[in-house]
Amino acid sequence: MRAAAAKAAAAKAAAAKAGTAKAGTAKAAAAKAAAATLVAGLIAALVAVPLVSLARIAAEAGLTGIWRALSGPQARVAILHTVAVAAVVTVLAVTAGAALALAIERRPARTLPRLLVAGPLVIPEFVLGFAWSQAYGPAGLSDRLARLVMPGLFGPAGIIAVLTVYGLPLAYLAVTAGLAARADPALERAARAAGAGGWTALRTVTLPLLRIPLLAAAALVFVTAAGSFAVPQVLGTPAGFATMPTLVYDDLALSASPAAFTGLTVVALALVVLVLLALGPLDLWLARLRPSARPDAPPARHQSRTTGDRVVSVIVWAYATFAAGIPMLTLVLTALTRGPGLLPVPANWTLANFSAGFSGGGAALLRSAGLAFTAAILAPLLGSAVASLARGRWRGPLATLVTLAYAIPGSALAVGIIIGYGRWLDGSVTIILLAYVAKFWVFGHRPVQAALDRLPPGLTRAARLSGAGSATAVRTVVLPPLTVAMTTAAGLVFILAFHELTMSTILYGPGTETFAVVIMNQQDLGGIGATAALAVILTAPVVAVAALAAWLARRPSRSARPAPRPPARPPVPPSACGSPAAPGGGPWFP
């Protein structure tokens, strides 16, 4: 009897348990469906709406029209130039970025070299080419001082050089984070001890371990280089060197005619297709590579300065001075000088270029900062939404999809956004914000995706088994590296949104002018001094904040060195594109 009662009770308990499990599964399925809906909605709102809007216009041309727009001699040459420039820049920037990261990251004094290499990232892209032309071009600073003109600056070589300088920090930061997490110095030492030369160890041990951050960096650098407009415009026009973004710009000037406008959308979409072809397979491949976790061992680093350190220091200083220092100095001098062609000596100095920009720009400056800040919060959040919800076979394609809006030239994306949302949001800050988030979403997604990938799945489980509640496990294990990645992403998005010019000038409305719009309107894209002043005004606050962040990050570590790594810290910082933060590093720069 008792046995039967116990049996019945056990059966009852089992049934109850099964019921709970069933409810749990249903709950999980519902959550999964909600998550999928959220991601699909985001992709639809930020990528599909503008792209489909543009595609509908392009479709007005019909297949023959599209073919004609892309097969003309000009378009063919522009496509070829774009692919070639983007490919060469990707190889150069990733190689140089990785080399610098390998050289710098295992040495004692890293903060300053990191800052120097990553520095060009805070200079707006539209400024860099212009600054180089003023520094190294004919009648530029080096020409005046030393009769030195950089050969080939106006043409493909110059474009590639400047875009490499702009893309290098993306690669550098990705590899830096990857190095901190992936490349195990012990493995390299083992290889060397087993008789492998330095080159063999690099080729067979270090680089394969860095495969994921290298590929991720390559993806972002490629899209950035292919989509660059300002650099080819300034340096390519005198050489008659057109790319797809400059072609879009030319079409824009003629786009009062519907045919030219259709041509514009066709070329802009062709650029998207190009990126899709390049990135789609890469992202699929990246999604299949499984990162392997490394035990939490302190990386071996030289503790004293060696000759090698000094050589690296000299190289980094020389590079930073040449790539960003002299051009930015030239820019400041140009902004301070009354008119073009005058010597940048105190007798010719003026603040007129700055005061013109600031008159009436105060509210706009606040608005720009607010917009950039909001975009900097939203993009990483939306990025982490996709990163954390996208699993399995959807991971690669979703990563590519998130990147597509970044690949659309700003002017075309703005048109797509107006067509999609203009009826309701025309001229509002929301439509500008929408454009910023769509454009820079990729910078909020990829670093966070990389950070999540780096989390060994066993880690949370281990925390739970050790008695931590799920909240504690998330707080102590998941959030720290994710916070670093999200802060990094936020920093990048803030810089890019604060510098954004093209979309804002098309999207703004009464009372929603951004700072760049106000200055551009007042100075009418005019004199060189005005442009330089705008560049300085847009760059200086970001440099100041970055320098402050770096200084704050450096201060405690100086007093604590050689400090052991904090034991509670998870071993794995974000490992891919644009995640500058390494363990113990500051939020923006390592």
Binding site: V77, G140, S411, V478, T502, I506, P510, D524, I528
Partner: protein
């Protein structure tokens, strides 16, 4: 992994809060804008590519004459203005009541797309006939001239002399694809007797270089990168005022003149239409034209002072009606010479 759902909660909260904040900011802005409109004052939207100081000067004068009209301005470069107009047309229709452009070519495209009312004030007097079409009239003249580096001798006296061996490798041209005003030079030479595309062949053979924008021509010449260039007179005057080592060289055969047209759009209805016509009338009135002259442009109305011109200066006019619709074709011929 369990992280995602845990993260999704704060993420959703934060984004909802931020979006809500943005939304409310936007709606406040739009109520502010429409609020005054509902208070019986007509509302007018102006799209323009005219320089900001000129727009500001003209509109502040207009506000004194017509204080009841609330004018909303969208100002951008010609290319960005084109993008905005095209986007408007694909999303519910043009949102401007008046368009005030920089050159007649874009304006003619819009006229052909039936975006403009026929010119509503035919009885206004004084505007030269070459600055009038059925749909839009000119408001100011822009002159394409030669800019020279200070001290260059001998100075060219005509356009044709830019192809002389004395200036080999010393001439900068603005990219005609980048702006309508730069295209005016190409449009003039392509169709003018004695020039034609052959003029560009000769320029290219003489080492002339195409740079990107009209202001860049002045910068490059001032810096000595080139000695001569084709650019707008206003840009040269601004650089001279700043002390730059450039001089304005007005060709003896005439500066190339282009006019900056204004038109009422078909979107202007009711009180907005009336207000649009009031603005057009003001721009072509003596006070409006004076404001234009004071901001560095030549007014279209005779007798109203603009910037100083050399004695005996003449101008020539591109054959606009011949150029309408042929922009792309002419550009392609040009790019075959100056492209890659």
């Amino acid at each position: 992994m369990r992280i995602p759902r845990t993260l999704a909660v704060p993420f959703l909260l934060a984004s909802a809060v931020t979006v809500a904040a943005c939304g409310s900011a936007a709606s406040t802005a739009s109520t502010a804008a429409t609020g005054s409109a509902s208070a019986t004052s007509p509302q007018l939207t102006l799209y323009t590519s005219v320089t900001q100081n000129t727009v500001t000067a003209v509109l502040s004068g207009f506000a004194k004459v017509d204080p009841g009209v609330k004018v909303t301005v969208f100002r951008a470069t010609t290319g960005q203005l084109n993008a905005r107009i095209a986007a408007d047309q694909h999303s519910g229709g043009l949102r401007a009541d008046v368009i005030w452009g920089t050159d007649p070519l874009s304006m003619e495209s819009y006229a052909q797309q039936k975006l403009f009312q026929p010119w509503p004030l035919p009885n206004l007097t004084g505007v030269p006939s070459q600055d009038k079409t059925t749909y839009f009239w000119g408001t100011r003249e822009l002159y394409l001239v030669i800019v020279a580096h200070k001290g260059l001798t001998p100075m060219p006296t005509t356009w044709a002399e830019l192809t002389s061996p004395a200036y080999k490798g010393k001439v900068a041209l603005p990219d005609p694809a980048a702006a309508g005003s730069a295209f005016a030079a190409l449009g003039y030479f392509a169709t003018a007797p004695g020039f034609g595309m052959n003029f560009y062949d000769k320029l290219k053979a003489n080492g002339a270089v195409q740079v990107s924008t009209i202001p860049e021509v002045v910068t490059d010449v001032a810096q000595g990168r080139y000695q001569l260039g084709i650019t707008l007179d206003s840009e040269v005057r601004a650089a001279i005022k700043e002390g730059s080592p450039v001089v304005l060289d007005w060709p003896a055969d005439g500066a190339i003149s282009l006019y900056s047209p204004i038109a009422e759009t078909t979107a202007a209805k009711g009180s907005a239409g009336t207000a649009a016509q009031e603005l057009l009338r003001y721009v072509l009135s003596t006070p409006g034209q004076t404001a234009i002259g004071k901001t560095g442009w030549q007014p279209v109305l005779p007798g109203i002072p603009g910037p100083a011109r050399p004695a005996g200066a003449t101008e020539v006019y591109p054959a606009w009606t011949n150029l309408f619709g042929r922009q792309t074709q002419i550009l392609q011929q040009y790019q075959a010479i100056f492209g890659a």
